[in-house]
């Protein structure tokens, strides 16, 4: 079976086939034999050179979530038909709402020059105020919101035109 995974913006091709009781994988062209058994509670038990590891896998759409020793990995199973949408979602020098909330204050104006870390917006979510800082140095290009406005997850808030390094 041939699969493509997206991890940290890198596409990794994986060929995976059962090999007797074990598995034979070809990750990015490199052959990797793997001893992995699915146990009754749904976890995978994998023999590695550091000993046996226990992993849990869950899926949501093309997302694959893996739990291993307190850490969570997020991968994407690549579907070649819908490639471009992810890239568009990656964002540029504009701030979008990470979660629903209410705009409390906009302490900057359009055209204002801001440094990295400069507070450009104060948002209240779950009754806590969060100060959003400029991720880049530059000029405030567009302010999409005003104080008192309720914003939903992913709503555009503010755009900054980054300074050009000289």
């Amino acid at each position: 079976m041939f699969l493509e995974f997206l991890t940290d913006d890198t596409t990794v091709p994986v060929q995976v086939n059962p090999d007797g009781q074990d598995w034979r994988l070809e990750i990015d062209g490199q052959v990797v034999p793997l001893q992995a058994v699915r146990s009754r509670d749904g976890s995978w038990l994998v023999e590695t050179h550091q000993g046996r590891r226990r992993l849990f896998v869950a899926s949501r759409g093309d997302e694959r979530l893996v739990f291993c020793d307190g850490k969570v990995h997020t991968l994407r199973l690549r579907d070649p038909e819908h490639e471009d949408e992810d890239i568009a979602a990656a964002g540029g020098p504009h701030l979008v709402a990470d979660m629903p909330g209410k705009v409390v204050a906009v302490p900057v104006e359009t055209g204002q020059i801001v440094k990295v870390g400069h507070t450009v917006l104060i948002i209240e979510s779950m009754k806590m105020e969060t100060e959003l800082a400029a991720p880049v140095a530059g000029t405030v290009a567009t302010i999409h919101v005003s104080p008192g406005q309720v914003v939903g997850m992913g709503d555009p808030l503010l755009d900054i035109t980054p300074d050009v390094e000289e």
Binding site: G70, V72, V104
Partner: protein
């Protein structure tokens, strides 16, 4: 003080006016005591664990807390409709709402907590300070601010003068606040007016009252609180301390007891102060006296929480006392079952709060469905959880989804136990702080017990996951899992629509059947 003021009146059915892990915790205690239980839930929580666990459940409104868990009228209606004779408020929501405690009394329903007057006195931080000062409990130097105008602009000169008298660095705090909301640290006198205005605004929107005051900032303080208990017979005791210095934005994350900072002498001194605080208001029920503990051993009254605390399990683990059971007994009018000298502690306990939030993205709450949940277990491991696999973590409620508490013979053993349990705490679907918690516990300064409320900012700023170490393994198992998943899918297609027949049971050969008219 010793004459009886409450007649003994047994409780037969308790309505739990809360949700999540604390509602589950209270319902369990009631069931153990043979009491009837009533859960209330919002429309979003019909399937929630607390709603399922109780004998009866009443849906009290839409998901928004203001339309359900904060609706006093609907909760009281539910209590009357189900013939509940007591209400346990848990923590948060209506737990420290004096008007609600009063309304319960007016409806002839017992509020499991202190009197409305005490809630009121302790809820108003400046009044609480004054009472404690009078009772000889040390308080942090501070001062009230004059009223701002309608836009929250304070009289500049006056505020600057007061601030200088209190001394920098200082804190701006909401008089009616809690949970870190409406709070600002001011190091630079330049920032004082902005901070006052910000705190005023936040306090007004969170608590409906913007009154703020200034307080001297104790540098690198520890947060050490004492569990207290009082009854209606004039008895007040403490159940030792909890160190809650591991905080982020004034939200506690890890709590432990005993505090590594307390000598037996200091413990006795602080315990006596906590009991004095409880006596000052003739406290009845479970409460907590919070202190700031300076590096020099000086301690100051911070506030008194008139409810069960989130972190109460660590006290239960070292004392062997069930705090919720005792709360109910006291509400029935019984005297405390133990005298101060009968309360003993054994071993060390640590609690880790599991939050659905992303430590790598400014600790933003992480919303969505819990796709997979596997909780750790074993000797000395206690889980208080309000979620189950398939549940939705929504914007409406607190992102704390569970608590892991461990108990062991020594601090080091408890630490090892907590780390091992976290390593086995699988939550997939929402991002959690599990790995972050492990990083805190495994930090050298934590192991050394060098704690203070700025610990996380000092020792783990810009924390990043170490997941890349196992990145290859995660990728490999994802591929194997996908292969297994797709093979199973194919197997189903070949065998037709039904689930594969299992040998040894009758289910495989029965075919379609009906139960109660449902397929």
């Amino acid at each position: 003080m010793s004459e009886s003021r409450i007649d003994f009146q047994p409780i037969s059915r308790v309505l739990v006016a809360n949700r999540g892990e604390i509602a589950v915790r209270v319902i369990r205690a009631c069931r153990e005591m043979g009491l009837g239980t009533v859960a209330v839930c919002s429309e979003a929580d019909r399937q929630a664990p607390h709603a399922r666990l109780a004998d009866q459940v009443v849906v009290i409104g839409p998901a928004e807390p203001s339309e359900s868990y904060l609706r006093q009228d609907r909760i009281l209606e539910a209590a009357q409709a189900t013939d509940a004779d007591a209400i346990h408020p848990g923590y948060g929501f209506l737990a420290e709402n004096a008007a609600f405690a009063r309304a319960c009394a007016e409806h002839g329903i017992r509020f499991i907590g202190p009197s409305a007057e005490v809630i009121e006195q302790m809820g108003e931080k400046t009044a609480a300070r004054a009472i404690m000062e009078k009772a000889g409990v040390p308080v942090v130097p501070g001062a009230l601010l004059p009223e701002p105008d309608e836009g929250g602009v304070f009289p500049a000169d006056e505020v600057r003068d007061i601030a200088v008298q209190v001394g920098y660095p200082l804190m701006v705090k909401a008089a009616f606040g809690g949970g870190g909301k409406g709070m600002r640290l001011v190091q630079d006198p330049e920032d004082i007016l902005d901070a006052c205005q910000g705190a005023w605004r936040e306090a007004r929107s969170a608590f409906g009252n913007g009154t703020v005051y200034l307080e001297k900032f104790i540098e690198k303080p520890r947060h050490v609180e004492f569990q207290i208990f009082g009854d209606g017979w004039g008895n007040q005791v403490h159940l030792f301390e909890r160190e809650c210095s591991i905080q982020r934005r004034h939200q506690k994350i890890i709590e432990e007891t005993p505090s590594p900072a307390l000598s037996p002498e200091l413990r006795e001194k602080m315990g006596a102060a906590a009991v004095a605080a409880a006596r000052a208001v003739d406290y009845q029920g479970a409460g907590t006296v919070e202190f700031l503990l300076g590096a020099d051993g000086g301690f100051y009254f911070l506030e008194m929480n008139t409810r069960l605390q989130v972190e109460h399990p660590v006290t239960e683990l070292i004392t062997g006392i069930d705090l919720v059971r005792t709360q109910i007994q006291v509400a029935e009018g019984r005297p405390l079952p133990w005298r101060q000298e009968e309360i003993t502690a054994q071993g060390h306990a640590i609690e880790c709060r599991i939050y659905a939030e992303d430590p790598e993205n400014n600790f933003m709450p992480s919303l969505g469905q819990i796709l997979l949940l596997h909780e750790p277990s074993g000797p000395g491991v206690r889980i208080d959880s309000g979620i189950e696999e398939g549940d939705e973590v929504s914007i409406y409620y607190d992102p704390m989804i569970a608590k892991l508490s461990v108990h062991a013979g020594s601090r080091q053993n408890a630490l090892d136990r907590a780390v091992a349990a976290l390593k086995d705490y699988a939550v997939l679907g929402v991002t959690t702080n599990v790995e972050y918690l492990m990083a805190i516990l495994q930090h050298g300064a934590f192991a050394d017990g060098r704690l203070h409320t700025g610990f996380l900012y000092e020792n783990l700023p810009d924390w990043r996951s170490q997941r890349s170490e196992d990145g290859d393994l995660a990728l490999a198992i994802s591929a194997v899992d996908e292969h297994a998943r797709q093979s199973r899918g194919k197997a189903r297609e070949i065998h037709g629509a039904g689930t594969p027949a299992r040998s040894g049971t009758c289910w495989g050969t029965l075919g379609r059947f009906r139960v109660n008219g449902l397929d």
